[in-house]
Symmetry: C2
Subunit: 120 residues, 2 copies
């Protein structure tokens, strides 16, 4: 497993529970106990997921407070957005081409229909 | 390892070689031999990476041509863009807050500097 920054972000995001934890933290800080509530998972299982998110820099935990609340760190997500944005033109072109193709089909359909109507 | 759609996309993206393959394919179709050229990797190693990308639906290979060129499939990347876009407001808020904080520091700095100048 590669350890570059973007790779560890993507690896951390490759799990639905971890993505659900991030979604929960996007609404505000939470303790591990609070994070466990919506999931049918043990505290150690959630802690393991949190460690992966922490190592990827997606979650930070307060050092001062005894209950050490977790908070979302959005900077790695911004890197993901910037990375994927470079491909935007690819899928936009694909959809443009599909759109153009569908319009051609529609025009042909109309022409055929027109001919049929004239024949009647 | 979870097998949901978004998880397998993120898992496939968690490797710099696989991301480099996608970058190459974003410029046009390529055969496995052509994909091997820029990497100091064996054909089996590249083929293994390609299989991961194919399983995630990020790469498709033509069935007709004998050399079976690979092409980028952008739809899963669009899903990644949509997923990460939900967090845009989080990092924008963070940067807004940082910006406001830096402006406060600047104002305080100016006030201090003003007081010093008046004292001279």
């Amino acid at each position: 497993m590669s350890t570059d920054h973007l790779s560890s972000t993507f690896a951390a995001l490759a799990d639905p529970t971890r993505r659900a934890i991030l979604a929960r933290l996007s609404t505000g800080e939470a303790t591990v106990t609070q994070l466990c509530e919506p999931f049918e998972m043990s505290m150690p299982a959630i802690s393991k997921h949190l460690k992966v998110l922490e190592r990827a820099g997606l979650v930070a935990r307060s050092r001062d407070a005894q209950w050490r609340p977790c908070r979302l760190e959005a900077a790695p997500l911004k890197d993901v957005a910037e990375w994927v944005d470079a491909y935007r033109r690819v899928w936009e072109q694909r959809f443009d081409r599909l759109d153009a193709y569908l319009r051609t089909l529609q025009t042909e359909e109309r022409k055929k229909h027109g001919r049929k109507q004239r024949k009647r």
